[in-house]
């Protein structure tokens, strides 16, 4: 059973960690881009309100 748990844990843990890494990286990129203008369509609601 240990081998099976190791396999599934490794796969699920790695994929979730990579997905989280991409989410955090995307947040940082959007933050870097945001003060300079409104070219990045992050929030369409607030843009239309403006």
């Amino acid at each position: 059973v240990g081998y099976v748990i190791a396999c599934y844990g490794l796969v699920l843990g790695t994929l979730l960690a990579y997905s989280l890494h991409l989410t955090l990286a995307q947040k940082a990129l959007r933050k870097s881009l945001s003060p300079h203008g409104n070219q990045i369509p992050v929030d369409k609601t607030s843009r239309s309100e403006v």
Binding site: V1, Y3, V4, A6, C7, Y8, L10, V11, L12, T14, L15, Y18, S19, L22, T23, A25, Q26, L29, R30, S32, L33, H36, Q39, I40, P41
Partner: protein
Amino acid sequence: MSDETSTTTVDRWAERAVLPTAVVTGALAAAWLWFVVAAPLDSVQGVVQKILYVHPPMAFSAYAGFFVTALGGAIYLWRRDAQWDRLAAAAAEVGVLFGALMIATGPIWARATWGKWWSWDLRLTLTLLLFLVYVSYLLLRSFTEGSEQVARFSAVYAIAGLAIIPLNYFAIELAGGRSIHPENVERSSFGEGMGLPFLLGVLTALAMFLHLLAHRIVNAGLAHQLAEREAEEGAAAWDT
């Protein structure tokens, strides 16, 4: 390279795909894990056989990643549009991740079944070679990012590397009975109640691949926009 607007077709497609693919992946993963737990135990291998529901799906997603890398490279060579080069690089990264998981889960099953972690069997050796080809692709790009020449060379390299996939897939037949790796999975390979968790495993892995690919493309597009903006600001500061 062609002129690009700040958001390209590939970026827009990826942006739209991130959330739906995440939802589909979550639903499939829940069903997959449920059926894996509920699946009957194999009479010969016992519980270790359940690794079959995760190892081949990792391989299929790795193949998909390497195929998209080559496809993106081919379209880049045809259109000379940098968005396709970014697609290829993103697919290579995600493909290598799935490749690493394929290579990690295989030896765990082998240790439990064969009693050893690794064998220099034709299938295993070609799998390792395929993985290293695309790791090298990423290394090449990381050392020499940005030039059109690198994008062209990377595209040709990715297309050439693809030739290993059919060789790898048919390695067991090519080895002519000398391979210790189990034969490729077919419909008849499964006992009752074992086909569905395997199918769900493949679908979950492919959905996860699409989700991570879309996410990675969005990030690459944003990084590209940031680099463009910094270059423009640098040029403006230089002029003043």
